[in-house]
């Protein structure tokens, strides 16, 4: 069952008013009306495009299709599709003697009637269309990001493409073997300050898309992604170049740009342990900036405590071990979780240690614990992953999901490679904290940590104390205690390094001084 994108429509939204349904070469406009903030269509019109009939009795509306039926109830926001029941954004209502149903009922009914895999919704042009197997191009969509505009072509199978660009404001994307359905022949207006619009034409066995941009266009890159098969074109604004997590998908090298197809450009798989032993450590003081983390009853903030401990630890490592230390933040600023491991990956760190302070309200919890990354069992559940890859939940929809799946494979590899070391690192941190701090040892645990997930290296997270416990909060306020915590972490790191390098057969460099 299909459906989707029931974009909220305001009464004054000029977009409300009609949607078009295209089946074969027949177009049909269906009037829509905004009722209590939701866009509705008459159920009779839904029946008309699905070869169905409507039966009404006692507030129940049955849309009988040639095969199967949909059952709705007046003022109940649910729909029965075969044996399944699905929630609706809004309930069916009677108005002017007609049954009105939320717009998604149209897509549900069309999907049920013609097969959900054949029904597509073009949200920009508001066309719901039934595809046929000959049409290898299925959707063209775009999304505007601060630094770039991404245009995505979804295809029924991997198709070769050629991007032609020069110094003019026009780029041409030619998709070989791309057969356009009528709905995609209409121009796609973008007008986001970078891209004006995309015009499509069929040139024999290839589909040609002419992309008009503003003068200030910068770097561009085009690549293919799978599940579903699609071609992605990123157009950067002005001098902007790919950065951050998005840059993990390397830009297509110019040589590969024409013609190119097949799998997405893969980031380099995480490298194995560095042959020379441990050289670089990234320490991650949790939270920061607008994210205070946990806050104690005396007002002590996790973000301040962990930053102080991290700064102390950095100094200890530099002085006593002579290793390179990078902090993900060295002041009170907000850093996203993705960025934290990205910093470590860019620094080619040998391991990543995230420092946190725990909290548990309405509990007497106290002590320290350490964690390493374990994945949710569902992560390896192919079905579940198929679902989530298809969930159009990210800002630009499925595209980013597909990228995620590419990354997921790499992180699977990294995970297998580093889990053992990570568990060991977490264990050693715990042991040393236990030796130095005379508080409750809560053990080594594991969980699907967002902040550890992207680390292409062994990693661990330590929760040094409970800020929600007033005694521990008082301890954390004491500089001497924070120094002892840092010392304990240093001992853990030292131990880990020794064991790690012994395993690698590396003779550790003598510490300076």
């Amino acid at each position: 069952m299909l459906l989707l994108s029931v974009r909220s429509v305001r009464a004054e939204d000029s977009r409300a008013g009609a949607v078009e349904v295209l089946h074969g070469d027949r177009w049909k406009a269906i009037p829509t009306e905004v009722i209590r903030g939701k866009e509705y269509v008459p159920l009779e019109q839904v029946a008309a495009v699905t070869e169905g009939t409507v039966q009404r009795s006692n507030g129940r509306f049955v849309l009988r299709l040639p095969k199967g039926a949909l059952v709705l109830t007046e003022n109940v926001p649910r729909i029965q599709v075969g044996s399944r029941e699905v929630a609706l954004a809004a309930p069916p209502v009677l108005q002017g003697g007609q049954v009105w149903v939320p717009l998604e009922v149209l897509t549900i009914a069309m999907g049920e009637r013609y097969g959900e895999e054949r029904v597509f919704w073009d949200d920009v042009r508001r066309i719901l269309w039934v595809g046929s197997t000959e049409h290898t191009l299925r959707l063209v969509r775009y999304r505007t990001y601060p630094e770039y505009t991404r245009i995505v072509w979804e295809t029924s199978r991997p198709l070769e493409f050629v991007l032609r660009e020069d110094e003019t404001r026009t780029l041409t994307m030619e998709v070989r073997g791309g057969i356009l359905p009528p709905a995609l022949l209409r121009p796609l207006p973008v007008n986001d300050g970078l891209v004006r619009g995309v015009e499509a034409s069929q040139a024999g066995g290839a589909a040609r898309f002419v992309i008009q941009t503003e003068a200030a266009r910068g770097f561009t890159r085009a690549f293919a992604l799978k599940t579903p098969d699609r071609i992605v074109l990123d157009l950067y604004r002005g001098k902007a170049v790919p950065s951050g997590p998005a840059a993990e998908l390397a830009p297509t090298p110019p040589a590969a740009r024409t013609p190119s197809a097949g799998p997405a450009p893969s980031p380099t798989p995480p490298a194995g342990p560095s042959p020379g032993g441990i050289r670089t450590i990234v320490i991650d003081p949790g939270h920061g900036g607008r994210d205070s983390g946990a806050v104690g009853s005396r007002g002590l903030k996790e973000k301040d405590v962990v930053l102080d401990i991290a700064l102390r630890l950095r100094k200890l490592i530099q002085d006593r071990l002579g290793l390179r230390v990078m902090l993900t933040r060295s002041e009170d600023v907000f850093v996203s979780l993705e960025e934290r491991t990205a910093i470590a990956n860019r620094a080619k760190a040998d391991f990543f240690l995230s420092i946190h302070v725990n909290a548990a309200p309405k509990s007497r919890a106290s002590g320290f614990e350490t964690y390493f990354l374990s994945k949710e069992p569902s992560d390896s559940d192919a079905r579940a992953s198929a679902i989530r890859e298809n969930l159009p939940l990210t800002e630009e929809g499925m595209g980013a999901r597909g990228q995620d799946s590419v990354k997921a494979i790499l992180w699977d590899m990294a995970y297998a490679l580093y889990t053992r070391e990570s568990a060991e690192l977490a264990g050693m941190m715990l042991e040393e904290l236990d030796k130095i701090l005379s508080v409750n040892n809560r053990g080594v645990k594991s969980g699907p940590f967002f902040v550890l997930m992207g680390a292409a290296m062994p990693s661990a997270l330590v929760e040094v104390a409970f800020i929600s416990n007033s005694q521990e909060e008082r301890k954390l306020q004491d500089e001497g205690y924070r120094q002892r915590v840092a010392e304990a972490l240093l001992m853990g790191i030292t131990k880990f390094r020794t064991r790690y390098e012994k395993r690698l057969g590396v003779v550790p460099a003598s510490p300076p001084g």
């Binding site: 069952m1 459906l3 895999e117 299925r138 548990a360 569902s378 969930l391 568990a423 969980g447």
Partner: protein, 196 residues
Amino acid sequence: MDLRRLSRPAAIAAATLALLGVGVLLGRLMAPSGVGPEPPPLTAPEPPPLAPGESGRAVRLFFADPDNTALREESRQVPQGVTPTEEARRLLDELIRGPGGELAPTIPEGARVRQLYIDGEGTAYVDFTRELQANHAGGTAGELLTIYSIVDTLASNLELVKRVQLLVEGAEITTLAGHIDARRPFTPRYSFESTR
């Protein structure tokens, strides 16, 4: 956002999420002038209307132990729901109400369930109000307990539920309190001891 080819379960899930307000949210992102509909007024869950003589169902609720190291079960009678969705809501309302004995609550103050949907693949999509995130005390221990008290309570009482996807105000969240990845469904976990 657009409608496109989706597998049946994915489409149902997507549809539901859209209905739960993700569509609204994305619509808002894409069209800054768009205004989402007003959320329905939320009231605190009422005690279960267990009428005299009505048959209840013994359920297992998962709360935190006093040290917040693990989840512990508490048994309770709740009225039999008609649909799994209704049962799930009742379970969560009980979880929100909190433990009766010495155990500690896991759901932040003021958090309520906005929407709940179970798809054909056994994933329950539970959409909470913003308090689940806003009023969370933080800390990994508390975050794990909140997440898995919800997941374990649903999965251990409802055979249909195999995993749980958490949403807040209709939208996917990256984490609840800054540590645990909440972008994908959670499967039940009755212990946090390290597993590899």
